[in-house]
């Protein structure tokens, strides 16, 4: 477990800071704006009354879902997901390209450890960090839900909804690991992870701007939809499945490459 301990030691501080930022953002949004958001329902309903019934019907259906804790929670999700994705892909890239970046691959691989053992220790370290980070996020979410959501409370739905960040982060961890293993060289972990995270953010923004359903299959932030989890008690199966399959395929790809790649001479 040396590799595991080493990777945790090297990475935990960054993860702790990201976790604080994400939880702080969550607390700030809910405490600062949820009451005002719920109050604005009356104004929105007034306005809808002036529009043709067709519009109102199309929209009115969702009123109860929109003006709830879950509806508001999902508004912020774009930003938690952005930070989480940068963090998670950063962890993946950092761990799986560390020896490559520092040009000490041969030092690690000549130790009496199998490559698959090394891969799994690194993966385990990454997953441990993500789980700890998400435990904090979920605990914060549930505490806020207890404090701010109007009755009746549905804690299991809140739990599912809060877990969507974890699934999204696991997907981005896989992307980061894949890139880290396959790229010929990784010049800057933060540069690559920022680019990956914002790519997800931009795709998500594009999707909500255009409302094109097909686009959602390439929009990782929307595979595990927090609002849907709240209102219906489950993720939409086809998108969640897409996310899970992509995560697995990338991870398996990274594993195969890591265990078989030729190590270039320095």
């Amino acid at each position: 477990m040396n590799v595991y301990r080493f990777e945790i030691k090297r990475t935990w501080a960054g993860v702790a800071i990201w976790t604080l930022v994400i939880c702080g953002l969550l607390v700030g949004l809910i405490v600062g704006a949820l009451p005002a958001f719920l109050e604005s329902r009356a104004a929105v309903e007034d306005m809808l009354a002036q529009f043709p019934p067709a519009f109102a019907a199309a929209f009115g259906m969702q009123m109860d879902n929109l003006f709830s804790f879950g509806g508001f929670y999902a508004f912020g999700f774009l930003y938690y997901a952005l930070f989480g994705a940068i963090m998670a892909s950063g962890i993946g890239l950092n761990l799986f390209s560390r020896e490559k970046r520092e040009k000490c691959m041969d030092f690690l691989l000549t130790k009496p450890r199998t490559r698959s053992g090394l891969f799994f220790e690194k993966l385990l370290a990454a997953v441990t960090l993500l789980l700890l980070s998400n435990a904090a996020f979920i605990a914060t979410s549930l505490a806020l839900y207890q404090a701010y959501a109007p009755a009746p409370l549905l804690p299991e739905r809140a739990l599912l909804s809060a877990s969507s960040l974890l699934w999204t982060e696991l997907l981005f961890l896989a992307i980061g690991a894949f890139v880290g293993v396959f790229a010929r060289r990784v010049r800057s972990v933060s540069g690559a992870s920022t680019a990956i995270g914002f790519a997800g953010f931009l795709l998500s923004a594009l999707h909500s701007l255009l409302e094109e359903e097909k686009l959602r299959y390439i929009t990782p932030f929307q595979y595990f939809h927090a609002a849907k989890a709240f209102s219906e008690g489950g993720f939409e199966a086809n998108y969640a499945l897409t996310g899970a399959v992509i995560t697995l395929v990338l991870m398996i790809g990274a594993y195969i490459r890591y265990t078989r790649a030729d190590i270039p001479a320095l």
């Binding site: 949004l29 600062g32 704006a33 005002a36 958001f37 604005s40 104004a43 929105v44 007034d46 306005m47 809808l48 529009f51 519009f55 929209f59 508001f72 508004f75 912020g76 774009l78 930003y79 940068i86 040009k103 060289r185 010049r187 800057s188 972990v189 933060s190 540069g191 920022t194 680019a195 914002f198 790519a199 953010f201 931009l202 923004a205 594009l206 909500s208 701007l209 255009l210 409302e211 094109e212 686009l215």
Partner: protein
């Protein structure tokens, strides 16, 4: 000229990659905009009833997405982010690329001053940024043709592209400064990227405040407000701020770079 040419050559592949992102964003955004604009008036009215914080997180503050100009402004907010990241990448790469690749001993033992080398590298980075912004203009023009709109948007696109360039300059020079200041290249790159993320977060905060006041100075993303640019003016004061920041950052970057201890990492 050798150095400049070589920099252009090695930067062309990432440039094409970033251009692809720009292309997708602009084409998908503009070509599909008609659907979004159709119920745009409804959406705009609807959104105006929500608290500011919701509007700000959706990136739709102070614009009317029923108009093409407003829709384009929302789209450009995302292009600004994309360009800022690319510019930061260019800036920190220009300063610390040789250290990261551990090739600094080959280049900096050549009979050229460090300032000479850095200036050529930054010039190449600037060329890429400029080309990128020009492509933004061209893509926008080509994409809007697909829509068969009656109005002429060339001037609007030109204004947005100019502001894009100015903001890109700020992030490019800031990232160059960070890369020159930090001893470890990765720390410099991280500071540059965090600057983009932080100023973007500030821009969202700016949107959700009723009276942001002085906050505008701290986030380049709000130097040029949508309403102004759509209305046909670019704030001369903030354009000057951009240029001034750029000059200050670059001068300091050169100063630090001249004195630093070049080494691996």
């Amino acid at each position: 000229m050798n150095l400049f040419r070589k920099e252009l050559k090695s930067g062309i592949k990432p440039f094409l990659f970033w251009t692809l992102g720009l292309f997708v964003l602009i084409f998908a955004g503009i070509v599909k905009s008609s659907a979004a604009m159709a119920d745009g008036q409804f959406m705009t009215q609807l959104i105006s009833k929500f608290p500011r914080i919701v509007i700000a997180t959706m990136g739709m503050a102070n614009v009317d997405i029923a108009q093409f100009g407003g829709f384009y402004a929302v789209l450009m907010q995302y292009v600004f982010v994309l360009t800022a990241i690319y510019a930061a990448h260019l800036g920190s790469g220009a300063v610390s690329r040789e250290s990261v690749d551990k090739t600094y001993e080959f280049l900096f033992t050549k009979p050229r001053s460090r300032a000479f080398i850095l200036s050529r590298k930054l010039l190449a980075a600037l060329t890429f940024l400029t080309a990128y912004v020009c492509l933004n203009f061209v893509f926008s023009l080509l994409a809007v043709r697909q829509l068969a709109l009656t109005e002429d948007y060339t001037a609007l696109f030109a204004r947005f592209s100019l502001t894009l360039w100015l903001i890109g300059l700020v992030f490019l020079s800031l990232a160059a400064l960070f890369a020159a200041r930090f001893r470890v290249a990765e720390h410099g790159a991280r500071a540059g990227n965090l600057a983009v993320l932080g100023t973007y977060a500030l821009a969202v905060v700016y949107d959700l405040l009723e009276k942001p006041g002085i906050l505008r100075l701290f986030t380049p993303f709000r130097y040029f407000l949508n309403a102004e640019v759509i209305g046909g003016s670019i704030s001369a004061f903030y354009a000057l701020v951009c240029v001034a920041l750029c000059v200050v950052f670059l001068l300091d970057a050169f100063r630090c770079f001249e004195r630093r201890d070049l080494g691996a990492l």
